[in-house]
């Protein structure tokens, strides 16, 4: 804190929260706007802050102090996970647990118990701890500055005084140029930012020429920066410094030199062979600069998008291997799903065959009704789940049952959906067996496991087709169509299956209501008595298997006898040929 005050007394610039706005480069002389800002500062700065709200957050990795002032400003200083922050600005780093961390935590803990002047005094009295490394010391000093510049009334008064003096100096300097009505550029806000930068760059030694012309003769050398307002600068010799011309003209004669940057604000340049070492900068069209920057930025974005798009397309067209590889991957994925579901189906066939058959029967013979029930059940599952919880919660006996209800209800719905889906797959498998397509001989009506696998493959066929078509880039639309139809197919199958499970109470209770209408009676009306295609296929398959079994049996009876005879004759031959025999 003492160092800070010494800096202020010596007039050295002070980095920190407020001081940044108090630097007064010579260029600011010209800008009435900046003068006004500077002149306003003392009035604000003399007010000692009034803390209306404080918040302290302390954790193993963080110690944060947030203060809100009566002016509405909020100030936050945080040491968190090795980083010191002032608001969003990073001040530096610290080591958790080091002297800085401990000192800060002590202060924050103290602040908790204090109010008003005592609180401010504690913040101002805080000094960086001893024994910090260079980085720690630098950060601690900045924290100290932050606290002083915001809460120390002495520092604030000193700053205010300095600002007051600067404002007075600015006023004096302005007197010389106040009458210039032609200085319309100063009212152009767009140009102000560029101008102020250019003015700051002129440095501390600057010669100002307003509403007049200036000549730098041949062979002479001007060792200062120049600000020419509403006048003509004619250079034959050398100017060692930056030049800013506002609303005027610059004429560079052959052999002339400007050792610095020439900035032009609403000014013209007539260069007949002069040299400008720092280049020429036009400040009078900041909007055009901005537009060109934006245009360039947009072009760059578009180009990068285009490049990325082209890159993606390149992969699509020029790398069929990638597409094919991806397609095969998806096909294997689908087949793996079929395998997993098929194994579940096999388990169901093994352990709960009657249930599966009952569900499959209703799914086959009451498809529409099962679908409606399935869709309704799917929609109502969530409300039923929630109502179940509410219903159980209002009774003492029910509350423990919620513990069972919450996990078991979704599980039961999932099991029902899978069982139903497999039952539908089993029906599709039976259909597939009846079609006698090539390579589907392994799907046999007499073997429910093959029916399930066959049906699952039928259900997966649209996806497999989509993946195959997806390997060819041109056929992407067809691939998407197939996928959509596959999803619809799957949803419908799941709904039918789920509905069938609900209608048969999980296959435990063959459907009773409407049996005549929807199952047996309907089947007989449609197919005629004994005309159920699945039953017929089953009978035919069974007959085929029985006949093939009978044929194999006959062959088996014949085969070993012949071989026996042959073996016996071979043995006789061996014995005949064997001298020992």
């Amino acid at each position: 804190m003492r160092k800070l005050l010494a800096d202020l007394r010596m007039g050295r610039p002070v980095g920190g929260f407020i001081a940044g706005g108090l630097r007064a480069p010579v260029g600011v002389l010209v800008l009435g706007l900046l003068v006004a800002v500077a002149a306003e500062l003392p009035a604000q700065g003399t007010q000692v802050p009034e803390v209306v709200s404080k918040m302290v957050s302390m954790g193993p990795d963080e110690a944060r102090l947030t203060l809100e002032l009566a002016s509405g400003e909020s100030m936050e200083l945080t040491l968190s996970e090795g980083t010191v922050r002032m608001g969003d600005q990073v001040l530096g780093s610290y080591s958790p647990g080091d002297a800085l961390d401990r000192a800060w935590r002590d202060l924050v803990a103290e602040v908790l118990t204090l109010e008003d002047e005592a609180l401010l005094q504690a913040l101002v009295d805080w000094t960086p701890p001893e024994g910090l490394d260079p980085e720690g010391s630098r950060v601690a000093e900045r924290m100290d500055e932050f606290l002083a510049l915001n809460f120390d009334s002495a520092a604030i008064q000193a700053l205010a005084l300095e600002a007051q003096q600067e404002a007075e100096a600015l006023e004096l300097a302005l007197d010389g140029i106040r009458g210039l009505e032609s200085l319309s550029i100063l009212s152009r806000v767009q140009a102000l930012s560029g101008l102020s930068e250019a003015l700051e760059e002129l440095g501390s030694r600057v010669q100002v020429v307003v509403d007049d012309d200036l000549e730098v003769d041949a062979g002479s050398e001007l060792r200062t920066s120049l600000l020419v307002v509403d006048g003509t600068l004619e250079v034959r010799g050398t100017v060692r410094g930056d030049v800013l011309v506002v609303d005027g003209e610059v004429e560079l004669q052959p052999g002339s030199r400007i050792v610095g940057t020439l900035s032009l604000a609403d000014a013209d340049l007539d260069n007949d062979g002069g040299e400008i070492t720092g280049g020429v900068r036009h400040l009078d069209s900041p909007r055009a600069d901005l537009e060109s920057q934006i245009r360039a930025e947009v072009m760059r974005e578009l180009r990068s998008e285009f490049d990325a798009d082209r890159h993606r397309n390149d992969w699509g067209w020029t790398s069929p291997v990638l597409r094919v590889g991806r397609g095969f991957g998806r096909i294997f994925g689908t087949l793996f799903n079929v395998l997993i579901l098929g194994l579940v189906g096999a388990a169901l066939v093994h352990f709960a065959s009657p249930n599966l058959e009952a569900v499959a029967d209703v799914a086959r013979n009451s498809t529409g009704r099962a679908a409606m029930v399935g869709f309704a059940g799917g929609v109502l599952a969530l409300p039923v789940f929630i109502l179940g919880i509410v219903g159980l919660a209002v009774t003492i006996i029910g509350i423990p049952a919620i513990l069972l209800w919450v996990p078991l209800f979704p599980l039961a719905v999932l099991l029902a959906a899978i069982t139903g889906y497999l039952a539908v797959a089993r029906n599709l498998g039976a259909w597939l067996a009846r079609q006698r397509y090539p390579y589907t001989e392994w799907v046999r009506v007499t073997n429910p496991v093959t029916l399930v696998f066959g049906g699952l493959l039928v259900l997966a066929a649209p996806y497999l087709g989509a993946h195959l078509l997806g390997m060819v880039g041109l056929l992407d639309p067809f691939s998407v169509l197939l996928k959509v139809s596959g999803v619809m197919f799957t949803v419908f199958a799941a709904a039918v299956g789920f509905g069938a499970v609900l209608l048969t109470r999980g296959g435990r209770k063959p459907e009773e209501w409407g049996t005549e209408m929807f199952t047996r009676g309907w089947r007989e009306r449609r197919w005629g008595r004994g005309g159920d295609p699945e039953a017929e296929a089953f009978d035919a398959e069974l007959a085929r298997e029985e006949s093939s079994t009978a044929e194999e049996s006959v062959e088996a009876d014949d085969g070993p006898a012949g071989e026996g005879e042959s073996a016996r004759s071979d043995a006789a031959d061996d014995r005949a040929g064997d001298p020992n025999a």
């Binding site: 209306v52 709200s53 404080k54 918040m55 302290v56 957050s57 302390m58 954790g59 193993p60 963080e62 809100e68 908790l112 919880i389 509410v390 919660a393 209002v394 009774t395 003492i396 509350i399 919620i402 513990l403 919450v406």
Partner: protein, 288 residues
């Protein structure tokens, strides 16, 4: 608000707390590293404020503090599961904690977190307190309340009006989930009407304090025990619409479908209680 709505609203915090319990998974043995947040704010002006305090799990204490300090809060919390809430804008103040994520071991946190809050008695407040699974001790004595709403989940809560509140309370509502709830010195609450909704648990309403006006209380209970402690000097009229609910009314005489204290006609202040309950018990105790 109908009795059914009140009952359903009372059930909601309980169900939420229950759902939280169901989602909980054991974290036995994991030490909690608590963080601390302390915050305070001076009173800007005495304009009415909407104040909402929300606290999920732990111990909670609320009481009146310094007149010129709007709030002073000391919060200890587990940063893994909660985040502090300190929000102030003109006319509105929110304090407490919000839950991070869904998984929460309530049992493990009940003894860990703590919120100690002081509120200015000089600022008129529309006060909303929402507790989850907490042990709450709330003293609103001397506060200037314009409206009051207290919702508790699976908590043990004591709300005391140790001194008369200031100003007139337009609406006062207590929503109790699955909890033990004790409201003390309700006679100090300057409200003409009090609505109490309770889901499951024991609710005790103590009407001690300095009576300055008559009061009507509508109680809607799902399941549980309701005890009404009424000073002997206050006239009591109890009307009930109950199902399988026992009534033990000390010093009350039946008058048609209602029960009336013998001093109903002569009492300086009167308390009318309308109870809508199922599966529980009602007990009226006269206190000195």
């Amino acid at each position: 608000m109908t009795a059914r709505e009140i009952r359903m609203r009372s059930l909601v915090p309980g169900l939420l707390a229950l759902a939280g319990l169901l989602l909980a998974f054991p974290e036995a043995g994991t030490a909690q590293e608590l963080e601390q947040v302390s915050a305070s704010r001076r009173v800007d002006d005495r304009a009415p404020m909407d104040v909402r305090v929300k606290y999920g799990v732990g111990r909670l204490q609320i009481r009146p503090g310094d007149a010129d300090v709007l709030y002073r809060m000391d919060l200890r919390f587990d940063p893994e599961h909660f985040e502090p809430v300190v929000e102030y804008s003109s006319g509105r103040l929110e304090l407490g904690t919000e839950t991070r994520g869904r998984n929460l071991n309530i049992k493990g946190h009940q003894d860990g977190g703590e919120l100690d809050l002081e509120l200015s008695p000089n600022v008129p407040m529309d006060l909303v307190l929402e507790f989850g699974a907490v042990r709450a001790t709330v003293d609103l004595g001397g506060m200037e309340l314009t409206d009051l709403e207290i919702s508790t989940g699976a908590s043990e809560s004591t709300v005391d009006f140790s001194r008369p509140t200031r100003g007139r309370v337009r609406t006062a509502e207590l929503h109790v989930g699955a909890a033990d709830f004790l409201a003390q010195n309700l006679g100090n609450l300057r409200a003409e009407r009090l609505e109490v909704g309770a889901g499951v648990g024991e609710v005790t309403l103590d009407f001690g304090g300095e009576w300055t006006q008559d009061m009507r209380v509508d109680v809607s209970m799902g399941l549980g025990a309701l005890e009404l402690r009424v000073p002997e000097g206050v006239g009591v009229l109890l009307e009930k619409d109950t199902f399988l609910t026992s009534l033990e009314a000390e010093g009350l005489e039946r008058d048609g479908s209602a029960y009336r204290s013998t001093n109903w006609g002569s009492a300086r202040h009167r308390l009318t209680v309308d109870v809508d309950a199922a599966f529980g018990s009602i007990r009226v105790v006269r206190t000195r």
